[in-house]
């Protein structure tokens, strides 16, 4: 089975994030594999161990992403591919990334492509779905269970807390949701073996793409942190008075009713 994972290197949103002039300060940031992509990597490894074949992890980024690719190899993936876009001067968006990935996959034999449900940095959830559209294959998002038998695939997906059961077939792209599995820690022997596994770097030329082909369709105007939480207001008096006051405040101050 040819199993692919599309992965994003993101900054750790649990660490402190500093924004200067609309740009995230990367010097102090910690970088990690997007946590939803970790579910995808784990599921890919489980699929390979069950059905045989090979897991290849693909990312679009610069050479700094090698650390996250090596981490995926340390978890148990077989190969890694970095589509290096460091030389592209213009800002890239979800369209650009999915265009590059689509071009990559259109030359590959694949049975299943797994990705994260969203990336924790921008939370857009765009890239994987665009790749499936670009390739013209089935896609199921936010999956929490996956069974493959031949080319038949049974999936459970998370729908706002409810479960939807879906039958589909390979080739297929899925995006992974929390609850699908418990990603393993890379073991020390795994980390050492990852050094010797193949990590290929390719660029847009190798995909027969020009810079214009991946030109962003959107423009980021500004980035800012959410406002700091203000202290809450505690209402006092009899319950009836409190209810009256609450309604007044919701109507006149918060203007939500």
């Amino acid at each position: 089975m040819n199993i692919y994972v599309i992965m994003k290197r993101t900054f750790d949103t649990e660490e402190k994030i500093v924004i200067n002039d609309g740009v995230i300060d990367e010097d102090g940031a910690e970088f990690i594999i997007n946590p939803y992509d970790e579910y995808a990597i784990e599921e890919a490894i489980v699929l390979r161990d069950e059905h045989g074949g090979e897991v290849t992890v693909v990312t679009v980024g610069d050479e700094d992403a090698e650390k996250e690719l090596r981490t995926a190899l340390a978890m148990g993936a077989d190969k890694a591919v970095l589509i290096d876009v460091e030389d592209v001067d213009e800002e890239l968006d979800h369209f650009s990334i999915s265009k590059a990935l689509t071009a990559y996959f259109s030359k590959k034999e694949y049975d299943i492509i797994l990705g994260g449900n969203v990336a924790v940095d921008d939370g857009a959830g765009q890239v994987a779905s665009r790749v499936a559209e670009g390739l013209g294959i089935n896609q199921v998002t936010t999956i929490t269970s996956l069974e493959i038998d031949g080319t038949a695939v049974n999936i459970e997906r998370d729908v706002e807390g409810d479960v939807e059961k879906i039958e589909t077939s390979l080739p297929l792209l899925v995006t992974c949701q929390q609850g699908l599995n418990e990603p393993r820690y890379p073991s020390l022997p795994g980390i050492m073996k990852a050094k010797k596994k193949p990590l290929d770097t390719i660029d847009l030329d190798d995909l027969d793409l020009e810079e214009e082909d991946v030109e962003a369709k959107t423009k980021t105007i500004d980035r800012f942190l959410p406002p700091e939480k203000q202290a809450g207001k505690i209402l006092e008096g009899e319950v009836d008075e409190q209810v009256d006051e609450l309604v007044q405040l919701l109507r006149n101050e918060a203007k939500v009713i």
């Binding site: 650390k67 020390l188 980390i191 050492m192």
Partner: protein
């Protein structure tokens, strides 16, 4: 010069950091309070290969280096000093001597299960009347025709109750000048006459197992001698040099956690209308802590680098152990002071870190012994 960690070192550090935060830190309060050795944590660490970092793959290890190992000790110690101490002792004292001095057969038989994390190893040197002054060793090994018979007692031995083997030092004779010849033996803990108990009520690192060993007519075959029969003394000095790097790394981990807690508290605690972090008295404490932790960490990494590059590291390892352990006690003490009355409460965990850190000025050679080692290394006696 290059201060960058390799990819493998970074990946290992991130993995261990996450593992320690998820699996080890939540138990730190409980293992301290109940003086319970978290054996289940060691099983998980074994599965991840953490117990075999600095040993080659052919002996069940990961083929990593001392720097990687030191980074792991720091991260584990940051989450729980008790776990960090038992981890460092299992690798540096329980397993390392077998790798350093063992025969191929001993490595296959005894190092493999330790490095692959199936069991723990332990190192029995200290006695009621002998520690760094090994000349006072009273445990004796009597040679008989098919092996040795060991009699004696050892105290404060880390992990022995959970170990499959203990490396025991014992007197096997006298040199022509009348000095004791000390040899090291690999003694399986299930050998007849080998009694291991844990009678101690400790101040700190209470979750780390500390045992008393009593050996009564314990028989081991000749092939269980570790290394050169004449050189047990030099061998364990070498073992302790390596162990000191890991103790120093543990000190850095504990201090880092106490410092982070103090910084966080100082920014959120308001007095006289302002966060106490805006007062210079508090700022200066925090600035000193940050600086001294970083200085200690650089010494640890330097010593580890020297060891990895097969350069002499005895002096730097002692520098690191002495500076880092005294720094850790001081840092935890200042972190407690910043917390004021809250710091004195168990709930805030700083008092535990202070109790834990104090051990590092004593174990694997006291601060005074470190100063003697350094004095000798810099030529005071020449």
């Amino acid at each position: 010069m290059d201060f960058e960690l390799t990819n493998e070192q970074q990946i290992t550090k991130s993995m261990v950091k996450e593992f320690a935060e998820q699996e080890i830190a939540p138990k730190a309060i409980e293992v301290d309070r109940n003086a319970r050795f978290p054996i289940e944590t060691f099983q998980k660490m074994g599965e991840l290969g953490l117990l075999g970092i600095p040993f080659p793959e052919k002996y069940g290890g990961a083929g990593g280096d001392t720097i990687t190992y030191a980074l792991c000790v720091e991260e584990i110690g940051k989450a729980c000093a008790s776990t960090g101490l038992s981890y460092a002792a299992a690798v540096s004292l329980g397993a390392s001597p077998i790798y350093q001095f063992g025969t191929e057969k001993q490595k296959q038989q005894y190092l493999m299960p330790l490095a692959s994390g199936k069991t723990l190893g332990s190192f029995g040197l200290t006695e009621p009347n002998a520690g760094s002054d090994a000349g006072g060793t009273q445990t004796k090994a009597r040679e008989e025709k098919d092996g040795y018979v060991i009699n004696g007692e050892k105290c404060w031995i880390t992990n022995a109750q959970y170990a499959s083997t203990v490396i025991v030092t014992a007197v096997t004779g006298k040199t022509t000048s009348g000095k004791n010849i000390i040899s090291a033996f690999i003694v399986p803990t299930d050998t007849k006459g080998f009694k291991i108990t844990s009678p101690y009520e400790k101040m700190g690192v209470r979750g780390s197992n500390t045992s008393e060993l009593i050996l009564e007519e314990v028989k081991v075959p000749k092939e269980n001698i570790l290394g050169d029969r004449q050189k047990g003394f030099q061998q364990f000095l070498h073992t302790l040099d390596g162990g000191r790097i890991s103790i120093a790394a543990l000190a850095v981990g504990i201090a880092q956690k106490a410092y982070e807690k103090a910084l966080h508290y100082a920014k959120s605690r308001k007095q006289f209308g302002n966060p106490i972090a805006s007062f210079q008295a508090i700022q200066f404490k925090l600035a000193d802590m940050a600086m001294e932790i970083e200085a200690a960490r650089q010494l640890v990494l330097k010593a580890a680098w020297l060891k990895d590059n097969r350069k002499p590291f005895k002096k730097t390892a002692s520098f690191a152990k002495l500076f880092a352990s005294e720094m850790a006690t001081k840092t935890c003490n200042q972190a407690l002071q910043i917390h004021g009355g809250y710091g004195y409460m168990r709930e805030y965990e700083i008092e535990r870190m202070l109790r834990d850190a104090k051990l590092l000025e004593i174990g694997e050679g006291t601060s005074e012994i470190q100063r003697l080692v350094i004095a000798r290394e810099i030529g005071c006696l020449e």
